[in-house]
């Protein structure tokens, strides 16, 4: 994989994300790129299920929210370091997902998709009634937690670089899976699950594995995101908006491609930012997402990368 050019292309993107805001100490750019990191991370990991295995996870936000909760809870109630809490969040959420996954992935495509929505609602209801996690009021963490990171200003930079790391890891993960035997099996499942099983692909295990793999980095990103804001509550942690936007980004960029997701995230963020400054209601965010998704599904199901590949087929050798 290191020998392929795409590996270095991803590296370049990561380097750009690190260098650009750091060079000018540009806080505004950093914040905008931080959001891009979150989108790219969520969308790449969602892509593992959607683009490779062909399963839509409408409720991928649950990884993000639960990761956020576990991280904040460990930092706040037990004084754990950020690094350890993030790791615990990642492992905890992907472990839970593997177990859940074995169950709900027995459901075929559409039913699985529906049950993912219900899982979010179920987890949200649970958290809202869960005392130790602040119930529906949530958890505030004290600014003290930023001290070990060098104070609040510096902490924001540390968090940013960690977000970039998570994004980079997500892109590399997508790439590594896509070019592996595991990925081949997943894509076969996405094409024709029954045929794949007959060919020997161990479908239940692969589906559960990819589902839990797709939970790890979003959980860590959730931990970082809410830690940064020093506050988490159920209505934010389990807001279906983010996971919906991740789906739109996947489809916009081209499901099943690594490049597409990054491109799609960038484009979507630009579009959203532009449109929201001209429209007055924040609810239009979802209307825009909806219109975009409808247009893509109806007319451009292969997304941006599909269009690019049809114009420049040579690029297929270089990009993924």
């Amino acid at each position: 994989m290191i020998r392929r050019p795409f590996f270095w292309i991803i590296g370049l993107v990561i380097a750009a994300f690190v260098a650009l805001p750091a060079i000018g100490n540009d806080v505004q750019m950093r914040e905008s790129l931080a959001l891009a990191c979150v989108y790219i991370t969520l969308a790449s990991n969602l892509n593992l299920m959607l683009g490779y295995a062909g399963y839509i996870n409408f409720g991928s936000i649950v990884f993000f929210g639960l990761g956020g909760y576990i991280c904040i809870w460990l930092v706040d109630s037990y004084g754990w370091s950020l690094a350890l809490s993030l790791l615990a969040a990642g492992i905890g959420v992907s472990g839970l997902s593997f177990i859940f996954g074995l169950g709900i992935l027995r459901l075929r495509g559409p039913f699985f998709a529906l049950s993912t929505i219900g899982i979010v609602e179920g987890v949200q209801a649970f958290v809202e009634n869960f005392g130790p996690w602040g119930g529906s009021s949530g958890i505030y963490i004290s600014p003290q937690v930023f001290q070990p990171l060098g104070g609040s200003a510096q902490a924001l930079w540390v968090i940013y670089f960690l977000l970039v790391a998570a994004m980079g890891a997500s892109l590399y993960l997508s790439y590594a899976i896509k070019t592996s035997k595991f990925g081949l099996g997943l894509i076969a499942i996405g094409q024709n699950e029954d045929a794949a099983a007959i060919l020997g692909v161990p479908t239940p295990r692969y589906k559960a594995l990819v589902y839990s793999a797709s939970a790890f980095l979003p959980a860590i990103t959730g931990g970082l995101y809410f830690f940064k804001g020093a506050f988490i509550q159920p209505s934010d942690a389990f807001d279906l908006t983010l996971s919906t936007e991740a789906i739109v980004i996947c489809m916009l960029g081209g499901q099943g491609t690594v490049t597409g997701v990054a491109l799609g995230a960038y484009l979507y963020e630009e579009l959203r930012g532009y449109l929201l400054t001209t429209a007055t209601f924040s609810n239009f965010q979802l209307v825009i997402a909806g219109v975009l998704l409808l247009l893509i599904v109806l007319f451009f199901p292969s997304g941006l990368m599909g269009w690019i590949y049809s114009r420049f087929p040579r690029l297929k050798r270089v990009l993924e």
């Binding site: 495509g109 609602e121 009634n129 789906i247 979802l286 209307v287 997402a289 998704l293 409808l294 109806l298």
Partner: protein
């Protein structure tokens, strides 16, 4: 004890309305293997139509039923042409995404215009009192109307030409085309009917409980649960499933805080689907 019985009976009454809602969903599912993710939005549309017509025209709430039914039909046909027509024959995930997209648009516009305001439709209808327990008038009337519409749907499907053609298309689309049935038109009609049912059930629910633009999701989930209980593509099963769900709610609500009801129902949904991946009655397509 009697209190629980009363709660159960009331649950069954409400359950009939859930069943009606689910019939709309299961019809579209059965005829063309499309899961309509705008179902919740259409239920809300029915609720809002009720509210707007009543407050604008001051008419009796129940008089809004015919316009909602007819309007819902045309909205459904439009939905077919916009989001579903091109998806027929493509992987089912695609129609999930396209109807999901339309749902985003509708709910987005709805919340932009009305926000999360709570709407309530004023009704005074005498109920039936037995001993200490009163069964609210609106519940009884809604149940009766739901049952009547469900019966009408049954007659439509089994005793009219269009209804029979619909069942043929549900059973085997290619064969139906071969015998000269205009399948595209029928697919559009089935979506029209499905959405009309969703809208009407929304209107009826609006006479029972207060609602917001976002209430649709909860009722959509209930419709899915009922569909799973009753079998896909099986309207009679949907009605029975609705009654079963209502019964369950009647049993559970006296003991459990309201916010947990949906969680329990959803857990049931997932568990049932895991045990019976095709739904309890696992009826093959075409059980219409």
């Amino acid at each position: 004890m009697l209190g629980i019985l009363a709660s159960i009976i009331d649950g069954v009454l409400v359950g009939l309305v859930y069943g009606l809602a689910a019939m709309g969903l299961t019809l579209i599912w059965g005829v063309m293997d499309v899961i309509n993710l705008t179902h919740g939005a259409m239920i809300v549309a029915g609720m809002m139509a009720l509210y707007l017509l009543v407050s604008a025209l001051g008419i009796s709430p129940y008089l809004t039923l015919p316009p909602v039914l007819i309007g819902g039909f045309f909205v459904g046909v439009a939905l077919y042409w916009i989001a579903i027509h091109r998806m027929v024959g493509r992987p089912p995930l695609m129609s999930l995404l396209s109807t999901f997209a339309v749902n985003l648009i509708l709910i987005g516009v709805g919340t932009a215009v009305w926000g999360t305001a709570l709407f309530n439709v004023e009704l005074s209808l005498p109920g039936i009192t037995i001993g200490r327990y009163t069964f609210p008038g609106p519940h009884i009337l809604a149940a009766v109307l739901a049952a009547v519409i469900a019966a009408a749907l049954y007659v439509f499907l089994h005793y009219t030409r269009i209804g029979k053609a619909l069942r043929a298309v549900a059973n085997n689309r290619e064969a139906a085309e071969l015998v000269g049935i205009p399948t595209t038109r029928l697919l559009a009609i089935s979506v029209g009917v499905g959405v009309a049912l969703a809208g009407v059930s929304g209107m009826l629910i609006g006479t029972l409980f207060p609602f917001t633009i976002l209430s649709g999701d909860g009722y959509q989930l209930k419709s899915f649960i009922v569909t799973v209980l009753g079998g896909f593509g099986n309207p009679v099963g949907a009605l029975l499933g609705g009654i079963a769900l209502g019964l369950l709610e009647g049993l559970v609500t006296p003991f459990v805080p309201v916010s947990w009801t949906l969680v329990i129902e959803f857990a049931l949904f997932v568990l049932v689907l895991i045990a019976f991946p095709g739904g309890i009655f696992a009826s093959r397509r075409g059980a219409l």
